[in-house]
């Protein structure tokens, strides 16, 4: 009986297979009908945007998508990188006597057609302060009071003059009261108000940017249409007459860069909004319809020391290490040349703040010279070897383990790096640095750790020797110097991961916050960089470049700026090609 049952089901299966195959092959034909539609801009992203709730969004892809909708008061000019008014009509007016700023809004509408007023701005600021929204709260903590002078004008009262108010505080995205008021009210009744607010699901954000989300299929795509009420349309801002000129945008998810590149070549993508590994460049350049953009980033990749305890509490050792590290090798080999050298914590491209007169440790030296120089510094400071790295003939040899000035042998130490899946470059740099340090008898071990574990090790438990980390998107305002090296941030979960402590630096850093005069602030910031590079709690390693590619068949007019062509300007400016 069983046997018969199976036989009959086998027969049914056979028929099923035939039907299935016909279906599949008929779908080939179907796919060929994929027509070229210039009015749809197809953008690839590497991962699903986690959320459309702007307050929760901490992943890069959510922010990319949200940047099409939620807008800031001020943005950076693509060329000069200066702040320019965006939702605001003009630059803020500072009144020193009341320590207040006045901001006037442009006439703008939300994508549902209602007006954007100063009330919305007020609401946004109050929401940030009330819920203590991470990353934003600290930027508004020092703002005493916000008031609406009229429907288009807002006045911000500060407790004291703060330099970052314009550059950082005023660049928060503005949300509408109509979208969030009820949510906020309901969240406040919860035991954990912030969690309730963050966990509120937004399906279709109400923004005022160039595009409106029309459809989303989770895991597959996001579909945007042009915002009819976009305030910037046909206006000339920063020398560009804004669009948007494409009617629709589709965001597709391409988990692997290889496949995204095939899609670019094939034409199912116009642009992949994510880094492309350098290895692809040659292949991309072969295709005529592909254009490759290499842009600078405002980023910092560095090696940090734990200066709280031995051995790296000794600045001489840190200097020796920075001499041993061959940054050119890392840049030319590991990053394939797609990175720029760093001599300071502030990237070179950030010309206004960058201090160009800093020591470039070991720059341009050969391996032998590096070892000799580092050896000289360490012997001067009392380090000893049983068999030193430089023998009597002045040649480098394999040294025995090093002894600290107090005569004790140096303990093995680790170089913590993120794992290769997260960032292969940093992991590879860690390994190669370990080998260089061994040339001097320093017992280094490179150890990649999962990113979360690495950060908790470095920031919370603070039990480590050295680490390699990076910031891929450093703000153009160098206020981060204060976060990284001010001794008051040397605490659990604080950003002073090295435990750097320099009273002079603290004084300068505190002064830099209050320095509203930009020239004075520049001087302080440059002085701070000098102090850091003398004490080297961090060794800046490299500032990678962003490699992106577009398919030129459908659209043109991408705007290149620091951080690549994936920016608001490009979204507003790309035009379909007339074929």
């Amino acid at each position: 009986m069983i046997i018969k049952m199976q036989i009959s089901s086998l027969k049914v299966r056979k028929k099923g297979i035939v039907i299935l195959l016909t279906l599949i092959f008929s779908s080939f034909l179907f796919s060929c009908t994929e027509k070229k539609d210039g009015t749809i801009l197809k953008i690839g992203i590497a991962e699903e945007p986690r959320t459309l709730n702007i307050w929760l969004a901490s992943d890069a892809n959510s922010r990319k998508v949200l940047s099409l909708m939620y807008q800031n008061l001020y943005v950076r000019d693509p060329v000069s990188l200066q702040l320019i008014p965006w939702l605001a009509e003009s630059m803020p007016l500072f009144e020193p006597e009341t320590v207040s700023y006045i901001v006037k809004l442009r006439p703008a509408k939300w994508s549902d057609g209602s007006d954007l007023t100063s009330d919305d701005v007020l609401f946004t600021i109050n929401l940030i302060k009330k819920f203590k929204i991470p990353r934003l709260y600290s930027k508004w903590k020092f703002v005493k009071k916000v008031e609406a002078l009229d429907s288009q004008t807002i006045r911000f009262y500060l407790q004291k003059p703060v330099a970052i108010f314009v550059t950082k505080s005023l660049s928060v995205p503005i949300v509408s009261r109509s979208e969030w008021a009820d949510v906020a009210k309901k969240s406040l009744t919860h035991e954990k108000p912030l969690t309730a607010l963050l966990n509120h699901k937004i399906k279709f954000p109400l923004g005022c940017g160039p595009f409106v989300l029309k459809q989303r299929r989770e895991g597959a795509y996001l579909y945007f249409e042009k915002n009819r009420f976009f305030f910037g349309e046909n206006k000339k801002i920063a020398g560009h007459i804004l669009g948007p000129f494409v009617e629709k945008i589709i965001f597709k998810i391409y988990s692997s860069a290889d496949v995204a590149i095939l899609a670019l070549k094939k034409g199912s993508l116009d642009y992949h909004w994510s880094d492309i590994p350098p290895g692809h460049i040659n292949g991309l350049k072969e295709s005529k319809h592909i254009q490759v953009f290499v842009s600078k980033k405002s980023a910092l990749y560095f090696m940090g020391f734990n200066v709280r305890h031995s051995p790296f509490s000794d600045a001489a050792l840190r200097k020796a290490v920075s001499i041993l590290i061959d940054k050119e090798f890392i840049i030319s080999r590991i990053l394939q040349g797609y990175a720029s050298d760093m001599t300071s914590i502030v990237p070179k491209g950030n010309k206004f703040w960058h201090n160009p007169q800093l020591p470039a440790y070991g720059h341009g030296l050969t391996k032998q010279q590096r070892i000799k120089k580092a050896y000289a510094i360490l012997t001067e400071n009392g380090y000893t070897w049983k068999s030193p790295p430089i023998n009597e003939q002045g040649e480098t040899t394999m040294p025995s383990l090093i002894r600290l000035p107090n005569g004790e042998p140096m303990q093995d130490f680790t170089i913590l790096t993120p794992p290769a899946d997260y960032d292969p470059h940093r992991a590879a740099s860690g390994t190669i640095i370990q080998e260089w340090l061994k040339d001097l008898g320093l017992p280094a071990h490179s150890r990649p750790m999962s990113f979360g574990a690495l950060l908790s090790q470095v920031k919370q438990r603070r039990e480590f020797d050295t680490f390699i980390l990076g910031y891929g998107k450093l703000s153009l305002d160098p206020d981060y110097l204060r976060s990284f090296f001010h001794s008051k941030n040397n605490k659990k979960r604080g950003w002073n991961m090295s435990g750097y402590h320099n009273p002079d630096f603290d004084v300068a850093a505190d002064a830099s916050v209050a320095a509203v005069n930009i020239g004075e602030r520049q001087k302080l910031i440059r002085r701070m960089q000098e102090m850091v590079m003398t004490d080297v709690p961090y060794i800046p390693l490299y500032n990678p470049m962003r490699i992106e590619a577009i398919n030129m068949n459908n659209v043109s007019g991408w705007i290149k700026m620091v951080g690549g062509i994936g920016n608001l300007w490009s979204i507003c400016m790309v035009k379909p090609k007339q074929i």
Partner: protein, 325 residues
């Protein structure tokens, strides 16, 4: 009678096993270094904000209370909220799971059918060239390095030949058009499914072929086959009606046993093909320290495997009257 006892016994076992897994995983996640807040690398996130967020996420409470809370959440069916999505984990799983099941079950069924079919032929031609080549071919396919093979398949069929879409589950251009009919949408998904399905089938079908082959060889030795031969039935009839159905039973059990193992391959395939399934979500969640989501997906996958094993056991007991539990 026996069957019911089997189900009750296995279900209680499953419940206990599951609870142990839950507890171990929970502890693992909470005791491991790193939390979602510390990985937010943004210098403008101050200590105060981080601590506030940790408090709001309930991560500063004692471990036992978090555990009880989690168990409660589990039984109320929400599984807690994902840190990054902000949505209940159950909801996210609910969205991803159908995609995984679609890909997974289809691939297992297809590879089973193909494996049984070719295994039958191979065993029938034992010792001949056909058999040797089939066996070697099956072994080669079985040991292919999946992510590598998948990328090469994409390159050939998706790019060079251009027959199939490169990845994803559907063509947005077609789906955003409200006029697209249901049939066209169905075809579109089918078209997208082909390559991941093909990859999974290639990897799995080899092992089914081998199991079927040996099962078949064994069955062919048995008395009733001889009886059938003595009765003068044709070779094909003996092969297809008598030997094959019984020989395919081990294939069914092996599906159950290898299920956990095939989940691995499923997750890899989902990643390479950007298929919005649960395995891909789990791997992302793990690398983003999104504990509730990772924990939830993991538990869910183990439930699915446990229950599938139970179903297969029952099916097996039902199909083969000789099996007594």
């Amino acid at each position: 009678m026996n069957l019911r006892r089997l189900i009750i016994r296995r279900s209680t076992e499953i419940f206990f096993i599951f609870f142990v897994i839950l507890t171990i995983l929970f502890l693992l996640f909470r005791l491991a270094p790193g939390d979602p807040v510390s990985r937010m690398v943004d210098p403008s996130m101050t200590t105060e904000e981080a601590e506030h967020l940790i408090n709001q996420l309930g991560l500063d409470r004692p471990l036992w209370s978090q555990y009880l809370f989690y168990v409660k959440n589990f039984f109320t069916g929400t599984l807690g909220n994902s840190f990054h999505y902000g949505e209940p984990v159950a909801q996210i799983i609910g969205q991803r799971l159908p995609n995984t099941i679609l890909l997974f079950t289809t691939s297992i069924i297809i590879s089973c059918i193909i494996g049984i079919y070719f295994g039958k032929i191979a065993a029938w031609n034992k010792g001949k060239k056909l058999d040797v080549w089939m066996t070697i071919g099956a072994l080669v396919l079985h040991t292919l390095f999946l992510p590598w093979a998948a990328l090469i398949i994409i390159w050939i069929f998706g790019y060079k030949l251009g027959w199939f879409p490169l990845n994803g589950m559907l063509t947005p251009e077609i789906w955003i058009n409200p006029e697209t009919g249901i049939f066209a949408r169905f075809l579109d998904v089918l078209h997208h499914m082909f390559l991941p399905l093909f990859t999974l089938c290639i990897i799995h079908f080899g092992s089914y072929l081998l199991i079927m082959r040996s099962g078949m060889l064994e069955t062919l030795q048995e008395d009733y086959i001889l009886t059938a031969k003595a009765k003068g039935l044709s070779a094909i009839e003996i092969r297809n009606r008598h030997a094959a159905p019984n020989a395919s039973l081990p294939v069914v059990t092996s599906v159950g046993l290898s299920l956990a193992f095939s989940v691995n391959g499923g997750a890899l395939t989902e990643i390479v093909f950007s298929w919005p399934g649960l395995g891909r979500e789990l791997i992302f969640a793990v690398s983003n320290n999104d504990y509730p989501l990772a924990l939830g997906s993991f538990l869910f996958i183990s439930i699915v495997v446990l229950v599938a094993n139970l179903i297969i056991d029952i099916l097996y007991a039902y199909l083969d009257p000789r099996i007594k539990y």
